[in-house]
Symmetry: C2
Subunit: 132 residues, 2 copies
């Protein structure tokens, strides 16, 4: 069972190397925080603010590659949590099948925000993460 999440906030610090992104359950109150890199945090932030760029930035390139190769991004999923590391996947429909592309949650969220697709978390990951 996957749970739909919403991006609640990003905390970007110029002082600290690691930034924070907080996800909250769409139809509930469970929430958790993921530590991400500065580049990925600013990329998510500029996409939320609808700041456009004349040329494709790196996450736009991810989306462009999927489009050009005949894929339709359906959603992203945070699928696992092992030893404190979150694992994510882009789920792309191509030729009637779902292809799953392994990635970090930060890249997945940046791509989801760019393409306006749902963010899911596996139920057991949310159980673990929200219980912290």
């Amino acid at each position: 069972m996957n749970v739909a999440m919403t991006l609640r906030r990003i905390i970007i610090s110029d002082v600290h190397e690691h930034q924070l992104v907080e996800l909250r359950e769409l139809d509930g109150s469970r929430r958790f925080t993921i530590v991400i890199g500065y580049f990925e945090a600013t990329s998510i932030d500029r996409r939320i603010r609808k700041q456009t760029s004349e040329r494709p930035l790196t996450h736009d390139l991810v989306v462009g590659a999927i489009d050009e190769l005949g894929g339709q991004l359906r959603d992203i999923m945070i699928s696992d949590l092992k030893d404190g590391i979150y694992y994510a996947r882009l789920r792309v429909m191509q030729d009637g099948e779902i292809r799953e592309i392994d990635c970090r949650p930060s890249d997945a969220i940046a791509v989801a925000v760019t393409s306006d697709v749902p963010i899911y978390v596996a139920e057991d990951v949310l159980d673990q993460a929200a219980g912290d």
Copy 2:
């Protein structure tokens, strides 16, 4: 006519916002420099140094998406120079056809270094750029 290039050096400055990457003709002496962002410069640099990451970084995700969707990256090309901005493309073979994915040269070079594929520049772009 496209000209094969080699990545001659990257100059990364912690003080300046813009970093430099220099390309040199593989079978000749023409060379030129492109201004790129800090994130892209450090991404290229870590790939040249063969620094690996346990999880896919953003340029690894670009490569992973191409692989998962049945594409084979053939090369990257810096195809245009307009108003001081360089334009690039990833050239990917899929189902017997070449698909061209629009991107910035910095992302293209990072992807080329990751996948160890050739870097080309259009002859007329090299003429303009190397003549500066």
